[in-house]
């Protein structure tokens, strides 16, 4: 019996094309893409890990741009990131990218939709465990990040006010996560040879 099982595994193993493990992919990309880009007709998912595109050297570069070191649980080299190229017909019209970010009580999942130049069109929390999550999810807060780019990040986010009464840690984590999101998307698009902007 054991020999038969091993043979079956071997046959299955022959056609598997191996890979790594997922960071923050969209729970429901069909719903999200249609909501963020009503004119879209489809999307294409791309998986990428930092290990594949440069490993430790890329990690150090990202940490330098972020101004902070990576968290060992949420931000290691093996974590596969998923980004979505939104299409109208065959033509790209934007991108959606989510990241995991350590928050006060657990992981925050921060999703940005951008145009082809990397300018934010929309931002939302796919997951946030804060007791004040409603304040963070409110359009009054998330709408302030519309138009955000990597180059004007510091200037624009300096004006954003923490919407919470006692969750400053989650507010800071949101800003860090959004910056990381834009850095990674910028990096992925350049590596993959897509149109992207700094």
């Amino acid at each position: 019996m054991l020999k038969m099982i091993l043979s079956a595994i071997f046959l299955l193993g022959l056609y598997t094309n191996a890979f790594a493990a997922v960071g923050c992919s969209l729970d429901d990309p069909d719903r999200d893409v249609k909501k963020l880009f009503p004119e879209s007709s489809g999307y294409k998912t791309t998986f990428v890990t930092l290990k594949e595109i440069g490993g430790e050297a890329i990690k150090k570069e990202i940490e330098a741009r972020l101004g902070d070191t990576f968290d060992s649980i949420y931000e290691n080299l093996d974590v596969p990131y998923a980004y979505y190229t939104v299409l109208k017909g065959k033509d790209p019209i934007g991108y959606i990218h989510g990241v995991n970010q350590k928050g006060k009580f657990g992981v925050l999942q921060l999703v940005l939709a951008t145009d082809l130049q990397g300018k934010a069109i929309a931002f939302y929390y796919q997951k946030i465990s804060s007791p004040e999550s409603a304040k963070f999810r409110a359009v009054d807060f998330t709408g302030q990040f519309k138009g955000l780019t990597l180059s004007d990040f510091a200037q624009r986010t300096a004006k954003v006010i923490d919407p919470s009464a006692s969750s400053a840690e989650d507010f800071k984590a949101t800003l860090r996560g959004l910056k990381k999101n834009l850095i990674l998307l910028d990096l992925f698009l350049h590596v993959q040879g897509h149109q992207g902007g700094k």
Binding site: I9, T16, A18, F19, A20, D27, D30, K34, S41, K90
Partner: protein, 339 residues
């Protein structure tokens, strides 16, 4: 070959197979999985398995297929070789196919699912319990967590829906006594802090004696059980707490049945690798008969060593067990899932 040595050979084999193809990037993910579990049971003494988990090694292969117009097909194959410590050495080994499905995008915004996947009922399709010591009601309610068949799912304006027509046989492929299983669930999207769903189930369901896909475990009977259910489920994330609840009511042939589950998970804010879980679960096999319930309290702890390795432990205490001796059980688990 001894049991222990056989298991080590399998671990090495799966790792070798998994490493062989690493190189190219693309819309594909491959994970290796190792599940080591053991503990003590007041009923069986040495426990080499939980209710739903065996010592096992396996893999998951997840793929996205696209053309110039975008993604159109997703596939997932997740399987493992497990050893059931309650069987003898020769019969203990088996293959469990956990996920084996393809999801095809239809033009109307809906998706068609084909293969082995979750019935669209209760909490189970909303949470991934394939590696967890604490389980949902699915195994008591339906009799299994996955089944072979076809499904349809999609989005309404504010709700998600899914429905499935399956064989009613669970892990192994059987068709006896006109067996089938229809399930349907409508619920909130997965992204909110509060999630909820309403489910229905109807079908002639077979009862298996095990969790193997191949070789097939025997059926408890060639006669299917006519099951009818309505169920409610909910999850609420609030700060460090995740509350889970589900309830189901219906009939198994002529017996009225009722089940309910409540669970609180607590993540330590300062040490988010560490989580505590408390669960109360009860399944009443016949509302017309006294003490016909299976009721268990469980306390679990989970510690994430890193992105791919997790240690878990759980103590469960039976308050009642219908037709069986009550059991106290303590289990520890090492779980690896990664590249």
């Amino acid at each position: 070959m001894s049991r222990g040595r056989s298991f080590l050979v399998l671990v090495g084999f799966v790792f070798t197979v998994g490493s062989a193809g690493r190189a190219s990037a693309g819309e594909s993910l491959f994970y290796k999985e190792v599940n080591l579990i053991g503990g003590y049971s007041s009923r069986d003494h040495w426990a080499g398995r939980s209710s739903e988990l065996l010592n096992s090694v396996g893999f998951e292969d997840f793929r996205k297929f696209s053309n110039d117009y975008g993604d159109y097909l997703t596939t997932d194959l997740q399987m493992r070789v497990g050893y059931d410590s309650l069987k003898n050495a020769e019969d203990g080994w088996g293959i469990q196919v956990h996920n084996a499905w393809l999801l095809y995008k239809l033009n109307l915004g809906a998706k068609l699912r084909l293969g082995h996947f979750d019935p669209a009922f209760g909490l189970e399709p909303q949470v991934d319990t394939h590696a967890m010591l604490l389980q949902t009601l699915a195994a008591q309610d339906i009799g299994f967590k996955k089944d072979w068949g076809i499904g349809l799912e999609g989005n309404l304006s504010e709700l998600d829906y899914k429905t499935a027509l399956q064989l009613g046989s669970g892990m192994a492929i059987y068709r006896r006594d006109d067996s089938y299983l229809w399930t349907g669930r409508i619920g909130s999207p997965k992204t909110g802090n509060l999630q909820y769903g309403l489910s229905f189930l109807y079908g002639n369901v077979l009862e298996s004696m095990g969790m193997r896909t191949w070789p097939r475990d025997d059926l408890m009977s060639d006669n299917a059980v006519l099951k009818k259910r309505a169920g409610l489920d909910s999850q609420y994330l609030f700060g460090p707490y995740l509350f889970k609840a589900e309830a189901a009511y219906g009939k198994n042939d002529d017996n009225d049945v009722l089940g309910y589950l409540g669970e609180i998970d607590y993540t330590l804010p300062r040490l988010q690798n560490l989580e505590f879980e408390f669960q109360a679960k009860s399944w009443i096999n016949d509302l017309g008969e006294g003490s016909s319930d299976d009721t268990t309290l469980s306390l679990g702890v989970s510690y994430k060593l890193n992105q791919s390795k997790t240690l878990r432990a759980a103590f469960s205490h039976d308050l009642n067990r219908f037709g069986q001796k009550k059991e106290n059980k303590f289990l520890v688990q090492f779980y690896f899932f990664g590249a």
